[in-house]
Symmetry: C2
């Protein structure tokens, strides 16, 4: 659970980080920025801020924004509807992100990218200045994600 204040602050932080990365948003996009605490109620440590540009039944593009040191908890994107599950490419735009994929760890700096195969466990953590990461992928079905921590809930409750 997060408070309405935490949600507003996170949206404002994301809009500011995206602007600093040279990324312009429309007003309706700014209002649609999603703040996820994964049901863990410690947003600044484990969470993610997401702006979805487009998500069709063929492909998806998003911007991910992280607070300094914030981690998106370990998860995988399982097969669905006869597909092997979501395949995704992370491209760092600003700050630094440490990506852990199937036991391997790598650091992405602005201009660097990595493609995560479908159904492969991964987590990622922003550096000390936070991070902005573009995500290009096949269709996104966030509600199907399988998290390692059984306490995770994908839907975020705003108090």
């Amino acid at each position: 659970m997060i408070t309405a204040d935490e949600q507003r602050q996170a949206q404002a932080y994301a809009a500011e980080q995206l602007a600093a990365a040279g990324i312009e948003l429309t007003d309706s996009e700014r209002d649609a920025i999603e703040v996820a605490d994964f049901g863990l109620s410690r947003l600044r440590e484990e969470g993610l801020i997401v702006l979805v540009y487009v998500n069709t039944d063929r492909y998806c593009a998003k911007e991910l924004v992280l607070y300094p040191g914030q981690t998106c908890p370990e998860h995988r994107h399982p097969p669905f509807d006869g597909t092997p599950g979501k395949e995704e490419t992370f491209r760092c735009r600003r700050g630094l992100v440490t990506l852990r994929v199937d036991g391997r760890e790598l650091v992405l700096r602005p201009g660097e990218q990595f493609t995560i195969p479908p159904d492969t466990v991964h987590s990622f953590t922003a550096g000390p200045d936070g991070a902005v990461v573009s995500e290009f992928s096949s269709t996104s079905r966030d509600e199907l994600d399988v998290f390692t921590n059984p306490n995770v809930r994908r839907g975020t409750v705003v108090a």
Copy 2:
């Protein structure tokens, strides 16, 4: 046909425009920027500069860079391999781009986007300051594009 000089200039222009849009590239990406004159030998009027971030058998992401007033000639992305053809979302990052889709015309400014259905004729022209456009799409198979102008050749010959 373009000259090696035209190619180098266009790559340098694209790198500069991408940097101005806040987009960082690796050295190998800078070297891989594709300059297309569509076989028409008047690059500044009809052409396109392309950086492919990723193109898997499921999705694709690119940056498109256009000179001021430059047009990408009318074409469509036909069905292939049992798919309906490439579906693509154009998101303007810098400058301005006028998009003509199936007889309809619309202008995209930074932060604005539009999704073009598969197998639908379209062309686009940059405004007076050029344009940077992010393209998110299903798999890209440029060699299959069908152009309205029969003189177009998708492969660019560098003299």
